[in-house]
Subunit: 333 residues, 2 copies
């Protein structure tokens, strides 16, 4: 196992310590239980956004904490749901009178633990709404999931809902926008290589040198098919086809196109995938009105990518463009 | 070779096409010869910054084109210097009366070709100054270099000099700031794995599963030593020691600390390295006044990292903080 780490059991804590040091102007990290919060939270009158999930997907979610996006993020152990006490502590830390939105990717442990934390928070008088993200079209049920998995649309939802909250919109309106992104967003990913969980010490799955996994999950869960290696054009078509057909996206739709690296794939390759995706979208008559190309939701050092398309409207575009200042996504501030 | 590409010979062109599509609001890409320019260049009255080098180091340099940083970037073939005609065309495209600064990493081909382009530009009446970056303390001479290699401090120099140019400072002052960053910046990198140049199709070097290369170059050039794998603490000490001793950095120095991923290393690990680097800096009495942690100067999909320290002053800090809007580095705009 070749990793820049010390003891495998210290990976999450030490990465959080590094993050706290590198972004001390913006974030505070609370340890035991672990959560990352906006330094200035709770922001009076603002609905607070809390997300979280297993670690190993950085910059998601801690890299999206800051003005215009999340108020807190709750990192579990690597590929392991955060505990209810972590989520509760984060919720308490950022909650104000305007209430809290939990943004939860659809993995069984995440959903259960966020539900439990929400129930506990409500007994303390905190208003909590939750939105479950399930945008991954690859498989219906999966290793850790009943129903579809939550993936790339979560980044878009956190940006758009975060902007709405920053503008002072009420909790219900912020939650509706988050649900709207999920309803109009579809994703699919693929792996060229496996990843290695530090405490496991060996690859999560074996993938021969001439094969790839289409529809892979962000924890290395099996996808739709294991097939021979293809070109970027072939791979992008294998991902974009199911995504485009699912909503379905139609000619004339304005879309946000998001090409995401899974951790071990360089930007050079992601731009090639974006080129293919743009051609496929143009071929269906879609208009790409906004784009995002980079490494935002990872599976440790996995080589591969995911694509996400979200059907946008004017309100969503305006909220996407709104100022944001987080470690991983920043503009206008 | 597992890569998200089509034909190896089309990698650079297709990635540039993807980049052009993804950042059409900000950049224009010119093909044959290839260069990336600010959509609004030449900016009247502004000294123009042009950098470049082989492709395979993305987001460097094309990802740093935009207001507050570069006016143009010139991408060569993968790990190959851009040609004089490319550099000349980029220089002509962005040159105004205030002249042009060439920011050149110290690799023999880059230096020669930028010099030749500068000479040609001068015959056309364009004022050109050049700054050679040579911040890598690992080795004195190298596979492609007479003297030290140019690495991470280049990113810092492009940001600080770019901000100075955006404020309308004259070419000589902008060049002086770039030289100041180089004079006060030191870097060193290490590799856990090799990278594979697409047209070569096999790893640039072989590195056994239990070894790492300390002092590696960004094209996979040999470093100082090949040693058994170590912890993040040990590795960071092996990089930071030579960096700290070289300037030398002294107690009380305000520094910018930059932890850079080489392409295949996830952010989770880079934050662990940052934690170690911050501890080492504190141990020497340095004050980290600004930091940057992420993947900014890569060697394709190489796993590993580099660290860069730059001794800052108030003027440099203010220019670092100035607004910037590029694909890869953005704040305030």
């Amino acid at each position: 196992m070749k990793k820049l780490i010390n003891r495998p059991e210290d990976v999450v804590r030490e990465a959080l310590q590094g993050m706290a040091g590198a972004h001390a102007d913006l974030l505070q990290v609370h340890f035991d239980p672990h959560f990352i919060r906006r330094a200035d939270a709770p922001v009076p009158g603002k609905a607070a956004l809390v997300s979280g999930g297993g670690s190993g997907h950085e910059p998601l979610h801690g890299g999206f904490v800051g003005p215009g996006m999340l108020d807190a993020a709750v990192p579990g152990a690597v590929f392991t749901s955060p505990t209810p006490d972590q989520i509760l502590a984060a919720t308490q830390a950022v909650a104000g009178a305007a209430g809290v939105l939990h943004i939860v990717k659809n993995y069984t442990g995440d959903v259960l633990n966020f539900e439990m934390a929400a129930d506990l928070a409500r007994t303390e008088g905190i208003t909590v709404e939750a939105v479950i993200m399930d945008d991954d079209v690859a498989v219906q049920d999966s290793l850790y999931t009943a129903g579809r998995r939550g993936t790339g649309a979560t980044v878009v939802a956190e940006k758009i809902a975060g902007a709405a909250a920053e503008q002072g919109r009420p909790l219900a309106a912020v939650a509706e926008l988050c649900r709207r992104v999920n309803a109009r967003g579809r994703s699919m990913g693929m792996a060229l290589t496996s990843c290695t969980v530090p405490q496991a010490g060996k690859p999560t799955f074996e993938l021969p040198g001439n094969e790839m996994e289409i529809g892979v999950g962000i924890h290395g869960e099996p996808g739709r098919s294991r097939v021979p290696l293809g070109t970027a054009a072939e791979i992008t078509a294998m991902l974009a086809g199911p995504v485009l057909d699912d909503l379905p996206f139609k000619a004339g739709d304005p879309v946000l196109a998001f090409v995401n690296g899974l951790g071990g794939t360089p930007l050079l390759e992601l731009y090639i995938v974006y080129r293919e995706l743009a051609r496929l979208c143009a071929g269906r008559g879609l208009t790409i009105v906004r784009s995002l190309v980079g490494t935002y939701m990872t599976s440790l050092e996995m080589a591969g990518c995911s694509i996400t398309l979200v059907k946008m409207d004017e309100e969503m575009i305006s909220l996407w463009d709104a100022p944001v200042r987080t470690p991983a996504l920043r503009w206008g501030l």
